[in-house]
Subunit: 270 residues, 2 copies
């Protein structure tokens, strides 16, 4: 399928819709840095390993368009699945190593779905700059790797996570939390902040710092921890000693909802 | 690695060097159809499943440059392996189904190496037209699929196989045939021409036509047949009934050298 927007080096903000302040911060930054900004809205079936998650993924299209335009989007690209995946479609883009652990281990096929659709968007939009949130830190690392490995034109811009008043990282899936779950959820960022505080206070032993975080999470019985790790910011491999740039990654289940978050350690609070 | 030639919609002829009249026909066509033509010369280690084949692959770089320029190349892009595959490289582009059978079944990993490096070349060169020989018919079908699936700009142009006076398809690997083997090798195209003649004469039963071809090949004891098949020209799946466009594919071993060739059936000789 030949699809080309034909713009001169626009900014690109790929989204799955259900836009929140996190997305809008990406769109505003792109609008400030590029003469044109394309916002793609596509709930990509290829990256959902769980059919129920795909069904229940929040969809707020009319509102998304309004919010995106207010934030500075010039073009909304909202293709159908049939347009991006016509009959006979068979190509996949994969990133070995980086995509196998953490979210990749828990959600088989997820990152292949992400890297494949983002490859298509890169070719359709031909962006000078593409904006991704640090909230999905592993996704960002994988896309940086893929973008460099396959020599696409332009830059990948990672943007800081936007947090609610109580620290919870904004996520489209937060809308599916019950009122009670929403009150419990901030233990996730609180755990990360505690890890950062301990590292800044001089404890650079990753195992010791993680143990402390797990003890904190254990106080909340409705939280099930998928992983809490401290990793190299590029390879995402666990580190023994916390160094500047080392990143804490966390994934938990709270009822049926998975929450992920991450934080650079050995950096002062913003 | 950021690599961008920055040309305005050039033609691209990807090669592994050891240029022969087949390559030169692609370069001449590109030169006729595009204001600039880029010829890449890169013996891509990723697509060699056999280390000895990589070692012994013919390399005639100085001559290649001269021939390419005479044929109309404006730019020779001859990267080193370290430039295209720096440390940490981990991305692969794969095409399911199409790449699994025929050459894919015999040479595991081969087509992933091809599609990955061609993806890189598409992004580095940004061609309006990319030229590939029909000699490697499965490769051409896979690249067409990948190019459409990932929505690259531009067109894939398949070009007719160039044959020697006795019908043998030109191939860089032909230079490794002994004098004796070179005399035997034309049985490969002769078999294909026989299949085409039978189909044109009215025998459209694929199994019967293939059986005839295998009987012909069996007369030459030094030939070991990997496969002889009649397939759909797009999906490469075997057909029962030969239709216009149906393609005969053949791969044989002649001593240590593998020869492949293919021909559209139900078409008159050119």
């Amino acid at each position: 399928m030949r699809l080309a927007l034909g713009l001169k080096e626009p900014g690109l903000v790929p989204t799955m819709g259900a836009l929140h302040e996190g997305h809008l911060s990406l769109i505003r930054r792109s609008a400030a840095e590029n003469s044109r900004t394309v916002v793609s809205i596509f709930v990509n079936p290829l990256q959902f390993n769980d059919a129920r998650d795909l069904e229940t993924y929040p969809r707020t299209f009319d509102r998304d368009i309004q919010l995106a335009e207010e934030a500075g989007a010039d073009i909304i690209f909202a293709p159908t699945p049939a347009l991006l995946y016509p009959e006979g479609f068979g190509t996949a883009v994969t990133v070995a190593g980086l995509a196998d652990r953490w979210e990749g281990a828990v959600r088989p096929g997820h990152f292949t779905g992400v890297t494949t659709v983002v490859s298509k968007l890169f070719n359709i939009v031909d962006p000078a700059n593409a904006y991704f949130g640090e909230k999905d830190y592993q996704q960002l690392a994988i896309i940086r790797r893929m973008h460099a490995d396959l020599n696409w034109f332009g830059e990948i811009i990672g943007c800081p996570t936007v947090r609610d008043h109580d620290g919870l990282a904004l996520s489209s899936r937060n809308s599916r939390l019950s009122v009670e779950q929403r009150q419990i959820a901030p233990i996730v960022p609180r755990t990360l902040f505690t890890l950062r505080d301990r590292a800044n206070a001089g404890d650079h032993n990753a195992a010791s710092v993680i143990e402390h975080g797990l003890a904190l999470l254990a106080q909340e019985p409705s939280i099930e921890v998928d992983y809490l790790a401290i990793v190299d910011p590029e390879t995402l491999e666990p580190v023994k000693e916390i160094l500047p740039g080392s990143r804490a990654l966390i994934a938990v289940k709270l009822g049926p909802i998975r929450l992920i978050d991450n934080l650079a350690l050995l950096e002062p609070p913003q």
